[in-house]
């Protein structure tokens, strides 16, 4: 019997400090056993439990795209016991990965549609996975226009800065990078909150889906703008966070009404969320 609680051992290959405050680091992980790597088949939007023996587990969105083979990346915010320990680890050390868990973004719904990806702060990880996935030559033709609005409080807090700059140069993606404020005279992108920039850039809702992922305050002010732009709640896709333990719908803590965020989510449409108790 396969044990869904058993993490697969992985080696930390590389640790990249993403933000100037040092609170976010990206961990590049390589499976010790090829059969574990083969079994780990995922799509953007899914997450995994990162396991540190003696410390515990944390649910983290997968930042790599399945088109990037041979490794996984997780961008982890330093918050509690497990993540603080992770931040003090070094390449070569062994940890565990359990997953993939949860439902991905609904990629079959997105076929032939335009995508508007809106992200804020460190919630950009599974959005980065999605962008890399869509831009891959094997996939690019499956989807229409790709628009990305991504903001952070200041330039130092943006994740994946080199990739952002490279995407800015491409013609098959409309990038709108923004920061809440900056005194950097060389800053060449937008300044303003994500909802404001969304309103200003006004991506068309025609034949389009919006994926929104960010802090509650950003979501609160972005949703009315998407409504103004004509996105019906069925075409607004969101990803939720919850305290989790098992990640497989058994330990009982991450439910919103009848739905377990770990297994039935973490991806829900706004239409679904509107039918669920407001308890998240």
């Amino acid at each position: 019997m396969e044990n869904p609680y058993l993490p697969s051992p992985v080696r930390i290959e590389e640790i990249i400090t993403e933000t100037t405050d040092g609170a976010l680091k990206t961990f590049k992980l390589v499976f010790l056993k090829p059969e574990d790597e083969k079994r780990f088949r995922y799509l953007p939007g899914q997450f995994a439990e990162i396991s540190v023996a003696g410390k515990g587990e944390v649910p983290i969105g997968i930042a790599t795209s399945p088109t990037e083979e041979g490794f996984l990346k997780f961008t982890i915010n330093k918050v509690g016991l497990v993540t603080t320990h992770l931040h003090n680890m070094h390449p070569g050390e062994i940890i565990g990965v359990r997953g993939p868990l949860g439902k991905s973004y609904p990629w079959d719904w997105f076929e032939g549609k335009n995508l508007v990806i809106i992200g804020g702060g460190f919630a950009f990880t599974t959005l980065r996975s999605s962008i890399v996935y869509v831009l891959h030559p094997d996939n690019r033709d499956r989807f229409g226009d790709l628009t990305v609005i991504y903001g952070a409080r200041h330039p130092g807090l943006l994740l994946y800065k080199e990739e952002l700059a490279a995407w800015e140069q491409r013609s098959d993606i409309n990038m709108h990078i923004t920061v809440d404020a900056t005194d950097d005279p060389d800053w060449k992108y937008n300044v303003g909150f994500v909802p404001t920039i969304t309103k200003e850039k006004a991506p068309s809702s025609e034949n389009a889906y919006a994926i929104v992922c960010g802090p509650p305050i950003m979501i609160k002010f972005t949703l009315p703008i998407l409504t103004e732009l004509g996105f019906p709640p069925e075409r607004v896709i969101m990803s939720l966070e919850m305290r989790m333990k098992c990640g497989i719908g058994m330990c009982g803590r991450c439910n919103i009404g009848t739905e377990y965020v770990c297994k039935d989510g973490p991806v829900f449409t706004l239409a679904q969320l509107n039918q669920m108790p407001n308890e998240y």
Partner: protein, 350 residues
């Protein structure tokens, strides 16, 4: 299915024979209460009990269980790699559990055995278990199993059902596994007079459960209307969030996972947890979707009486054992909550 008579003076030898082939769990008297525990001697089992303080769920979901073990010794190749904690999965008999508790296991199965994932420990123990129930001649004043799809002599989830006829037990095999157990009894088949005595006991016991609750109405109720009902504030008012109700409940399955390390050796453990505790849902960021007591009390009742009903189409996640009613230090009564939730018009404002 076969029926045999076990004279009470032969019970110990019957249990003794079971102990030779199985792990046996039974009600035992401990410190002024009854608990359902693994026994090592036949005379430990005491079938004269009304019900155990804790449900027998610990036989399948131990209160604390080692999941994995590991070493964190620096420099060792296996350091940091988890492996399954060694466990024995012998065939086990749960002897003399109440029918409500057997029904509870079936309700909990849908959580641990799903189409996507199987909890290996729950599933293996369930598979290897034989459930020998003991019908209730004297239901307690807090029992309401007849409202929740069971009854004092319900066979749901059981392999054998025992009737306490005074001088003897009548044992009826309900399943093939049950036949195996009945074959351990040396007794004779019951005559017509004992059979009719069993039927009378059953009817008398049913009649003693007066409370009839409108449980079926719960599925027609609108989930959000119940969730947003004003009545939760009255229900939660006295609650002190002690978690006793979840602890004693046979259908409460929530658990926590924790690592513990001593020197270089560590275990990953799972322990019973409770939705009554704020930390159950506390995010790393400090945000808590169920920070208030009223939210946690609502969660417990909504989960049992609405979320479960809607998610599995399997009735309520309550078997009417009455343990939470008996044990609640502030007299919160799930029967009253059911009545409020199924009232024609949800109470909105006082």
């Amino acid at each position: 299915m076969s029926e045999v008579i076990i004279p009470k003076d032969e019970l110990a030898s019957f249990v003794g024979r079971l102990l030779e082939s199985y792990e046996v769990f039974a009600p035992v008297a401990r410190g002024g209460m009854y608990l359902f525990e693994r026994i090592s001697a036949a005379d430990e089992a005491d079938l004269s009990y009304k019900n155990t303080r804790l449900s027998p769920k610990g036989a399948f979901l131990p209160q604390s269980e080692r999941m994995f073990e590991f070493t964190v010794a620096p420099g060792k190749e296996e350091s940091g790699i988890l492996k399954e904690a060694p466990k024995e999965f012998r065939e086990r008999v749960l002897l003399g559990l109440r029918p409500c508790d057997a029904q509870a296991f079936k309700l909990v199965d849908v959580n641990f055995i799903t189409k996507e994932y199987t909890d290996p420990w729950w599933a293996r123990r369930r598979e290897k278990a034989i459930l020998v129930g003991l019908g209730c001649n004297e239901p307690r004043s807090t029992c309401f199993c007849t409202s929740t799809g069971g009854g004092p002599f319900s066979e749901k989830g059981l392999d054998v059902l025992l009737y306490d006829l005074g001088e003897s037990f009548l044992a009826r095999a309900v399943t093939e596994k049950g036949e195996q157990i009945v074959s351990f009894c040396s007794g004779k088949a019951p005559g017509e007079s004992l059979k009719s005595k069993a039927r009378e006991l059953e009817a008398a016991a049913r009649a003693k459960i007066r409370k009839s609750l409108p449980v079926d109405k719960l599925k027609e109720k609108d989930l959000l209307e119940l969730f947003n009902g004003k009545f939760w504030e009255k229900i939660e008012f006295a609650c002190i969030n002690c978690g006793t109700c979840t602890f004693v409940c046979p259908t409460c399955w929530c658990f926590d996972i924790q690592d513990e390390v001593y020197k270089n050796d560590g275990d990953r453990l799972r322990n019973w947890d409770s939705c009554m505790f704020p930390i159950f849902t506390l995010h790393g960021s400090g945000h808590n979707p169920r920070a208030q007591k009223v939210q946690r009390v609502r969660q417990r009742f909504m989960h049992k009486l609405k979320y479960y009903v809607d998610k599995y189409g399997n009735g309520v996640a309550c078997v009417g054992c009455g343990r939470c009613v008996v044990s609640c230090p502030v007299n919160i009564d799930i029967r009253r909550v059911m009545e409020v939730m199924t009232a024609e018009v949800c109470e909105r404002e006082e």
